[in-house]
């Protein structure tokens, strides 16, 4: 339990506190402030995982989200796959193990909470490094509403990884002062551990805040684990820094191979020596800081290998510190198994590699330059420009409302980053017409040392004999230079194609280290400029986001609103089985002890046909249409005439689209000369109201009419069956319920102990029926009074399944079940509902299109299985035999399909409705329906199977 690679002092860790964790079953220790990766390195462990395809050892190769090597599975406190050891903050009790590129989801429900917050700001700054802090300070000092988000556990960015000084003091003192100053501004939201992972239109940015992950078991239960911030910013400053780029060479994946800047981070931020003996391989000056810092900290730097023939002006600095610098040299490969033991170093000139020498080391640091983190800029559709000197893509245009600052924009010195942050923030303020504060001082940074020009080197020619098969470009996908060569050799030219062929950039890290390398290597192989190759598209999320976080509170019962009727508790108590109809919960049937659905429905149907049944039909859509022109509107929207309807009467109507296809049906009650109550299907309520609004607003604004939904203002209880008159008559003695006084398709208002009640003679079953309408407040009382009044007659509550059987027996279609948007009223056999008098209505002109006169149009008919047993599955296809009694050769022509299918108590056999080509001409024919492996013969009938004369509707 020792940490032999921990420095004696320094770093941003709490050395006074020790935490225990386990990795691959081994108990280790670290300190608060460590990541899992830094604690593993402190214990001397580089190898973390095994590669996905080739099973090669892999280790920590970077210090944050760009690491392609250290994939882990968390087991405690809660299982979570595919995290990077470099981004997991250490806490007591953490248990993890390395992953071979694939993880395991938890098999227990996640009890943590996730939530989302909307936030609106003038200026959003992404990244709290030097440029981001300068930008946030400038915006905050000017009085703007600011949000500053940063993915690390504390602010500072690159300053956390170095020894820079500002105002003649350690730079982190300035960082602390800046953070304190921002906290003093009431309109500044500053979030650490928060990754802006996607930038979208109009200043919309999504950011994920990890609120309790670093607390482990100590996380308070009432605090959400992760939170998605939905930030709408008038102006965005992207100060997301840069990722160091590796150079590809043979066996560049051995644990112990690491980006040079990452080694500096482990040293300065975490107090960890990533090795004892190092070789540093670079194409630019930045790695000299790592070499010198590590050397000062006690690492034996065996050689600084600089690919540039003229080396660096910093050579003297190194040699003064006793470091050997080899200019015009490269690393051509490594030796070792679990860990690098040697770097192979060779002279390099004009693209030619000389003979290699092995230099012993347990740490090989690599720097191939820096790639600005342009992800958010590119996601916002910003065009990128390739910079020949840096060998990297930079923002190539100005975007409205989004600007890039600091090293994300290619500015790599501290003074430059501070100034750039301030400049970009001032430009953003100016666009918002906010003047900058008078005192907007930046700290004094030392004059930058102008670096020598880097050389752009994507890969070192493979002299190992492996022909690029161990020169890894994307370590997470085990994809190599050889794979790119094969892709280009196969004729692929587009980088997007190469990406898909090789899978480079498709893994967990989405190509943070491999993307630009691939652009460079492909360009080299094709002999075209890198600008022409470009990059693959940057897409959100920048780093992986758990689905649980995106779902937030919108899961389980809160995923979608559940609508229940005023009687819901009664239905539950009555043992109803519910079904979802849109967002509504509707009782499907009420099973009695020992009954299955089939038995319950047969009983309920029989009650409605022979005695009396009662349904909660409250979900029926209801639209109140009012105004002097209400009748004109309905005449234009319904296929039949509504203006001739008398006050007190009801009419069934069909509504079509301009194409003449049925979109909804229902009954219309005329309440007054200028007022109608339109009833729609349960599912069509919103659509029909929208349809009315669309025509009133866009075509007929001159009509004096208003439409509003009153679905939830009325409950509806159809009382159905030959005994319904007795029930309704006894409960409402003021109403003469005789057919003469209260005929079919009329309505009457009455009251029950002062509560207004509306009764309507509407039937969706063919039986004598009264629909009872009342304010939902009185729903339970009226329902129970109806049950009481019906008890002598055996009144039976029934659900939607029985409702469907009853209506289907009568051939009443359900729009959307028996129709599919290609069905006219004529196809349904409802020519009677299409007015011939009206000069026009929506859909009329389409009825005379030649296609609508086609005798082979699909028409609604009934089907009776000849065996009197089979319940045809809804959706079944319908076929017919040839004259010789054989099926036609495949493909067998399909005549249509079954749209509704039930058992009928009344018919004592199953039946179905179907849409069949030329169906009405086929009545009496026998056709076949494939069910399972057999062809079931069925007789084609008219759609109305029960009481075709309509004798029952008046009881």
């Amino acid at each position: 339990m020792t940490s032999p690679f921990r420095t004696p002092e320094g770093g941003r860790i709490d050395r006074a506190t020790t935490v225990e964790f386990t990795f691959d079953g081994e108990t280790l220790t670290g300190h608060p402030g460590d990541t899992l990766a830094s604690a593993l390195l402190a214990s001397g462990r580089h190898r973390v995982a095994t590669s996905v395809r080739l099973g090669r050892p892999r280790g920590v190769a970077a210090a944050w989200a760009e690491d392609p090597g250290g994939l882990v599975q968390i087991e405690e406190p809660f299982p979570e796959p595919m995290l990077l050891a470099t981004t997991v903050e250490l806490h007591d009790g953490l248990a993890a193990h390395g992953l071979p590129g694939q993880g395991r989801l938890a098999d227990v429900p996640d009890s943590a909470r996730y939530d989302a917050v909307h936030h609106h700001v003038d200026v959003l700054v992404v990244g709290a490094g030097p440029a981001g802090l300068a930008a946030a300070l400038t915006a905050a000092r000017a009085g703007a509403r600011v949000a500053l988000v940063d993915e690390q556990s504390e602010a500072g960015g690159s300053l956390l990884s170095g020894t820079e000084r500002l105002d003649d003091a350690p730079a982190l003192q300035w960082v602390a002062a800046a953070v304190a100053e921002l906290a003093g501004h009431p309109d500044v939201l500053h979030l650490q551990r928060t990754t802006a992972f996607g930038s979208y239109d109009d200043g919309f940015v999504l950011a994920l805040e990890r609120r309790t992950d670093h607390l482990g078991a100590a996380a308070p239960k009432h605090v959400s684990r992760q939170r998605v911030w939905r930030i709408r910013a008038r102006s965005i400053v992207v100060a997301t820094g840069a990722h160091e780029r590796p150079v590809v060479f043979a066996d560049n994946d051995r644990p112990g191979t690491m980006l040079a800047g990452a080694a500096r981070t482990f040293l300065h931020r975490y107090g960890v020596l990533p090795g004892r003996e190092a070789v540093v391989f670079t194409t630019n000056d930045s790695a000299y800081d790592a070499a010198l810092d590590l050397s000062r900290a006690g690492v034996r730097v065996q050689a600084v290998v600089d690919a540039r023939p003229e080396g660096s002006p910093r050579r003297g600095e190194c040699e003064h510190a006793g470091l050997r610098v080899l200019s015009g040299a490269v690393v051509t490969g490594t030796r070792g198994t679990e860990r690098v033991t040697h770097a192979l170093v060779a002279p390099f000139a004009d693209g030619q590699v000389g003979a290699s020498t092995a230099i012993g080391c347990d740490l090989l640091l690599v720097s191939g330059g820096w790639n600005p983190a342009v992800h958010l800029f590119s996601q916002a559709r910003g065009r990128l420009r390739y910079d020949e000197v840096l060998g990297a893509f930079l923002p190539g245009e100005e975007l409205d409302g989004l600007a890039v600052a600091g090293s994300a924009a290619g500015v790599f010195d501290l003074a430059g980053c501070l100034a750039d942050g301030q400049r970009v923030a001032r430009a953003a303020l100016s666009a918002l017409a906010v003047p900058p504060a008078a005192d907007d001082r930046l700290p004094a940074a030392p004059a930058p040392v102008v670096p020598a020009a880097p050389v752009v080197l994507w890969r070192v020619p493979d002299t190992s004999g492996a022909e690029g098969t161990t020169s890894f470009v994307d370590l997470q996908r085990d994809a190599t230079v050889a794979d790119i060569v094969r892709a280009v050799g196969a004729g692929l030219r587009s980088l997007e194609h190469v990406k898909r062929y090789t899978t480079i950039g498709t893994a967990h890290d989405q190509g943070k280290t491999s993307g630009v390398l691939t652009s460079g290597i492909v360009a080299e192989l094709l002999g075209v400029p890198v600008q022409d190759t470009g990059t693959t598209t940057f897409r959100p999320p920048y780093t992986p986001v758990a689905f649980a976080a995106l779902a937030g509170r919108d899961r389980g019962r809160l995923f979608d609103p559940e609508r229940v009727t005023a009687l819901h508790e009664w239905h539950v108590a009555a043992g109803a089985v519910f079904e979802d109809v849109g967002q509504w919960k509707r009782p499907r049937y009420y099973p009695q002890p020992g009954e299955d659905m089939a038995a319950a429905v047969l009983r309920e149907c029989a009650a409605a046909r022979t005695g009396v049944g009662i349904l909660d039909g409250s979900t029926l859509g209801k639209i109140d249409v009012q105004g002097p022109d209400a009748a004109v509107l309905l005449d234009r929207l319904y296929t039949n005439l509504m203006s001739s309807l008398k006050v007190g009467s009801v009419r069934y109507g069909v509504m079509c689209g301009v194409d003449g296809m049925v979109i909804d049906d229902g009954t219309v009650l005329r309440l007054a000369e200028d007022r109608f109550l339109v009833l729609t299907t349960t599912g069509g309520a919103a659509t029909v109201l929208d349809w009315m609004e669309e025509w009133v607003q866009t075509e007929w604004p001159d009509l004096r009419v208003h439409c509003t939904s009153v679905t939830e203002q009325w409950v509806t209880f159809p009382v159905v069956g030959p005994r319904s008159r007795d029930v309704v008559g006894s409960l409402f003695p003021d109403v003469d319920v005789s057919t003469e006084a209260f005929p079919f398709m009329t309505w009457r208002d009455t009251a029950l102990e002062g509560v207004p009640v509306r009764l309507a003679r509407i039937s969706f079953s063919g039986e004598l029926a009264y629909e009872v309408y009342v304010n939902p407040w009185y729903a339970v009382a009226v329902w129970e009074r109806l049950l009481e009044a019906g008890r002598p007659h055996g009144i039976t509550p029934y659900g939607t399944e029985t409702m469907h059987v009853l209506r289907a027996e009568k051939g009443y279609p359900i729009i959307g079940q028996d129709t599919d948007g290609t069905v006219t009223p004529h196809d349904l056999g409802m020519a009677w509902a299409v007015s011939k008098k009206k000069p026009d209505f929506i859909g009329k002109r389409s009825f005379t299109r030649p296609a609508n006169a086609d005798p082979l149009r699909k028409q609604l008919v009934g089907l009776l299985p000849v065996d009197r047993q089979t319940v045809l599955p809804e959706g079944s296809q319908i076929v017919e035999f040839r004259a010789d009694g054989e099926l036609p050769p495949p493909p067998v022509p399909m005549l249509g399909h079954v749209t509704s299918s039930y058992r009928s108590a009344e018919l004592a056999r199953p039946f179905a409705l179907a849409l069949v080509k030329g169906g009405r001409e086929r009545i009496g024919d026998t056709v076949h329906v494939p069910v399972g492996g057999t062809l079931v013969p069925v007789e084609v009938t008219g759609a109305v199977l029960v009481d075709p004369e309509g004798a029952r509707r008046d009881g």
């Binding site: 239109d201 669309e694 866009t698 604004p701 026009d840 009329k844 299109r849």
Partner: protein
Amino acid sequence: MQLIPCPWCGPREEAEFSYGGQAHVPYPDSPAELSDEEWAHYVFFRANPKGRFAERWNHGAGCRRWFNAIRDTATYRFERVYRLDDPKPGVTELARSREEGTAP
């Protein structure tokens, strides 16, 4: 998520709106007098340009009002929103509104 400038409510998130297809396609005065082909053009045929397009939009989750918009189908930018009873803006008018900064 894009912001769409409702002429009555101001800028609101796109999820509050629904798309209503090409604008300025009036319901014919006398459909019965149209040939099948003319009627088919009204029912089925719509322009599908790359670039500036006059469209209908409905602020369904807000004020529930319909309005018209000039939108660039290649960039998704709304160049102009206007009420149903406003005439379709001409090219010069659009240019002027951009110069004056009154374009959304």
